[in-house]
Symmetry: C2
Subunit: 615 residues, 2 copies
């Protein structure tokens, strides 16, 4: 396309954005209009993509970080022939693939769900890192973001990683339209302010008039020819560009144009230009996955092993069996034991430093390139990435998260380092799997099982050593549980997971000595939960005590209660958990203070069997 | 103190750090030793603080962002006479105030809990903003952070806000010891790399040898004399400085010294220097709070009002009655309706732009200066600040968080904008209060009630209008609920909150027409939950259906189940919630698709009463 055609294409994208939002009665046309010329030049001149083969390994990748500008994206999809005009006008309607914010669950040409700002660049960095260090391919990643979202710290975690990793296959296009949702941004049209920041972080920058298609074209060319560092195109634009009634005006964010017909006329009417984009470059397909026999580590019953150690060894073994496994670290690999993988497979180990949002985003990006990522940090610090985990679920991304140092059992370090909310966070994510092993063999099996699941999978590990309870050939289906003790005389069931399993076993032993037969269930699969085994235990024993190293809300206790929320009779229930903010103390002192040690469990069980109210 | 004494003081702080960690058998002495000279000069020469009056309004504020260097902080507290040597050696022991990471819940001289990295500067910015724009006092804020933690995006959210707000009362001291937990940082001893970044964000920077006490003294002086911008002292240091066996060596993070006695000898032995610090400047006490009669907005039954609108108006009214109320926005004040407060009290409204971590940190900082902050954004985006909320709880901070646009009821915008995990997140925070009003008058009352609570208080609001159900004089105690329908014949209880309350009422009406009398409970207080009312309903009706616009885990359904976890008989339970990731659709279509509208509730109730299993 020549200059004139590019200008026309930009206007077409504006018109179609206005039309889509008008048909929907909602949406963000003005945010689409500011970036229309930037997008037109990119798709017509530089973006190499086969829209009939979205899984082509050589495809460039486009991430619309300002996901609310979805009308622009859908107008582009129409211009390349991926959707038709009829579908364009289904925007935001019930059942349409064209959601308010784009998601790959619905649209194969979307790399990652956006709409929570400041997430596009982080995920783009993950993809670019895969291109550079895993695929060794020359596809490029283009991220279009808004200026407002540069206030998100996650953008600077990404900027840091991108420059440090010399990601010259990554170009960020910043649509500086100077207006956020409720008013002007901090820096308005001061392009230098943004350029200074990116330069300081090690990026190449180009400042440009985002409505001058030739200048934009040259800027992209400059980015493409820059070696050794990522590029940021800082483009001055006008929100609502091209329609006087809305151009560069406040108070119009997220609203269809007041008079769509008039606006379309002002933009020169409907057009039907077609983009015949560049073809993708040749590239090898990502690795197939299974390449060898999985030889998980094995431990003998009675050994004392920390589940975090078992995780590290199992992950290294999994990495030997599967060439698609990658590990991501938040600068705590020596604590999570992910370093075992680093030693075995350094080329597939990525140090993300202390930047948990970026660690999860890198996982999402790599998963979109066919990898099987395991990202590990302290369970407590995964809360830093909660919004990224949530959005990964919206994307339908398949990633594995591992949280170590769970609960008060870590001891002296105190509450800042204790994961006491992680089960609640991970359970509430749609489609997630939540696993909490109690011993080394179980951990190893679950590390392997996670690989075969969909969605967000979470494994919770513990810092201290604990007894190996299961033999190395025991199997642990996801959604299952293990009945560790039972008899026909059981009057009580204890439901535990992780560090509370040995405590529950000791409590059961003590109660047995008092003549109270007790069933013990190891609920290693917190989500999905083993409703059937819990139901049977409820019916046969009449009462259950749950015990967890986690705050009482959202964790094991809630998971067990959920199992009984099917309208059938419910057994009597008591939940033990960490009901206060701990201080520093030894692990044993912590379990005792929290009331989740064997003695406390036995006391609660005794009261429950006596049909007394448990305080 | 003269140069020689400052050097000696630095050595004393090292010796005491080594001794404390040695007594504990754990802790981070090497991370303390790198910053000892920086701390010595600060406390001896510049820090103005009355340790007998930690609440002195003119006190400077010191935030140890690298909270793992707590031995250094406790050694300082000993040097100023705030604690004695005996207490120093209780470090990390059960019951000691000297936890592994410092927290103000235990120690009055600590401003905010740290230990999750990258949080000290953000909170320091909040305090500095209070000093500048609320207290108009000349106290200074000093934040000591590590180099590793500069990888956290939250640091750059803070850097942006600090420079934009011209916080020249804030000095950041970066202890560049080049070693993180598992190895070297990205930038090693490249001080320029950090200086460039801070300069680009608008900071004044000083690079200095962090072990040259005179140079450090001059650097602090330069920071103090810099006007109009915050200062960052970028200090080159050595981890484990002063003890050959550990100095500048990898693999020694978070470990006591191998030979404490030898190390102490190498450091020149024990000393007992006393710091006689500078006195605080004169300053007025923060505002007392109540200054006038609270005139909450009032609505008539039957009006159609969105709870987010009621929140905005109620907050403005609360701000008129109390001069300690401040409002913080994440650049969505037009959506959350916090803008109503901005219009009424612009001098107490703080735009934090799209930086939710910084928004919550600003709230924590202002709370520590006696303010009553209300921070509002979309419920979905509060997940971005999860780790800050968690740490605010560890601090014992009293802050109000408001999440708008809850649930699928927002309609077309789609899942990225829908709060579907927020109740789970907020319930799991220790000591939190979780409120979810269904109408305007209830919202206004709860906005006022939040002001009187401790800890983290969360209010969930809705985007769309709903009927005013309660009169303006109705009261809504926290921990209570409202029985909206009941009779002696009730065979079923529907438990709802927020947007599902009108749906539950309509379902009850429909079931009544079929001869099934139904009780309806408005569970506006999700935490603490009204156990008694739920218990009575369970006993009298035998079965409960909970219905919530939230994923089924961690929210209302779990809260109701928790109410029955006291060992007494449990009614039959069914929970309705959002069991899939929604797309775009109208609010009504969304409620129907999620199975939480009146029709779905009635269907579930019908099955439950028939004692059938509810799928």
């Amino acid at each position: 396309m020549n200059t004139g055609e590019l200008v026309e294409l930009g206007q077409q994208l504006r018109v179609d954005s206005v039309r889509a939002a008008d048909a929907a009665g909602s949406g963000h046309p003005t945010s689409s209009m500011s970036a229309a010329d930037l997008a037109a030049v990119l798709f017509a001149r530089h973006f190499r993509y086969d829209f009939e083969r979205p899984d082509h390994p050589g495809n460039d990748r486009f991430v619309l970080s300002k996901g609310h500008a979805s009308p622009l994206m859908y107008a582009l999809f129409k211009a390349v022939g991926a959707i038709d005009d009829e579908e364009l006008l289904t925007f935001r309607k019930n059942g349409s693939r064209l959601e308010g914010h784009p998601t790959p669950r619905r649209l194969p040409w979307v790399e990652t769900a956006t709409g929570s700002l400041g997430q596009g660049l982080p995920v783009g960095v993950g993809i670019a890192l895969a291109g550079k260090r895993l695929d060794h391919a020359d596809y490029r990643i283009w991220v279009l973001c808004g200026d407002s979202e540069l206030a998100e710290g996650s953008v600077w975690e990404a900027a840091e990683q991108a420059a440090y990793e010399n990601l010259d296959n990554l170009t960020l296009i910043v649509d500086v339209n100077r207006l956020g949702q409720r008013g002007p941004t901090r820096h308005g049209h001061d392009l230098d302010a943004y350029a200074r920041r990116f330069q300081a972080f090690g990026w190449h920058t180009v400042e440009v008039d985002g409505h001058d298609v030739d200048a934009v074209d040259r800027a992209y060319g400059e980015a493409l020819s820059t070696r050794g560092q990522p590029s940021a195109i800082i483009a001055r634009t006008l929100k609502g560009k091209g329609v006087e009634a809305v151009q560069d005006r406040e108070g119009l964010h997220g609203k269809p144009l007041p008079d769509a017909e008039e606006a379309i006329a002002e933009l020169g009417g409907r057009r039907d230009l077609r983009i015949r984009g560049e073809r993708p470059s040749a590239a090898a397909a990502p690795p197939a996955g299974h390449t060898g026999r999985l030889e998980l580590p094995r431990w003998d019953k009675g050994e004392e092993v920390a589940t975090r150690d078992a995780f590290g060894e199992a992950l290294a073994a999994l990495g030997a069996a599967r060439d698609d496994v990658v590990a991501l670290d938040g600068e705590v690999g020596d604590s999570t034991r992910a370093e075992a993988f680093a030693k075995a497979h350094p080329e597939r180990y990525f140090e993300c430093y202390i930047a948990e949002q970026q660690m999860v985003a890198t996982a999402v990006g790599m998963a979109s390139r066919g990898r099987l990522p395991y990202a590990a940090t302290f369970a407590a610090f995964l809360t830093r990435a909660h919004d990224f985990i949530r959005m990964a679920s919206v994307s339908g991304s398949g990633i594995n998260l591992v949280g170590s140092h769970a609960g008060v059992a870590i001891g002296q370090d105190g509450p800042s380092q204790m994961g006491l909310e992680d089960l609640a966070m991970m359970r509430s994510v749609h489609g997630s799997t939540v696993l909490y092993p109690c011993d080394a063999n179980q951990t190893a099996r679950l590390v392997a099982a996670m690989a075969g699941l969909d969605g967000i999978r979470y494994l919770r590990t513990s810092r201290g050593v604990g007894p190996v309870i299961y033999g190395p050939d025991e199997e642990f289906p996801v959604g299952g549980s293990k009945v560790l003790r039972s008899s026909g005389r059981d009057r009580l069931t204890l439901v535990a997971a992780g560090v509370t399993v040995p405590e529950a076993l000791a409590a059961a032993e003590a109660l047995e000595g008092e003549g109270i037969a007790v069933r013990v269930i190891d609920l290693y699969s917190v989500k999905p939960v083993d409703r059937e085994t819990l139901r049977v235990a409820g019916e046969e024993t009449g009462c259950l005590v749950t015990v967890e190293d986690h705050h009482p809300e959202g964790g094991l206790g809630d998971a067990v209660a959920e199992a009984f929320a099917d309208g059938r009779p419910v057994p009597r229930l008591v939940r033990l958990g960490v009901r206060d903010t701990p201080g520093s103390a030894s692990p044993d002192e912590q379990l005792s203070a929290a009331g989740i040690d064997a003695e406390s469990i036995a006391a609660a069980g005794r009261l429950l069997v006596a049909e007394a109210i448990v305080p």
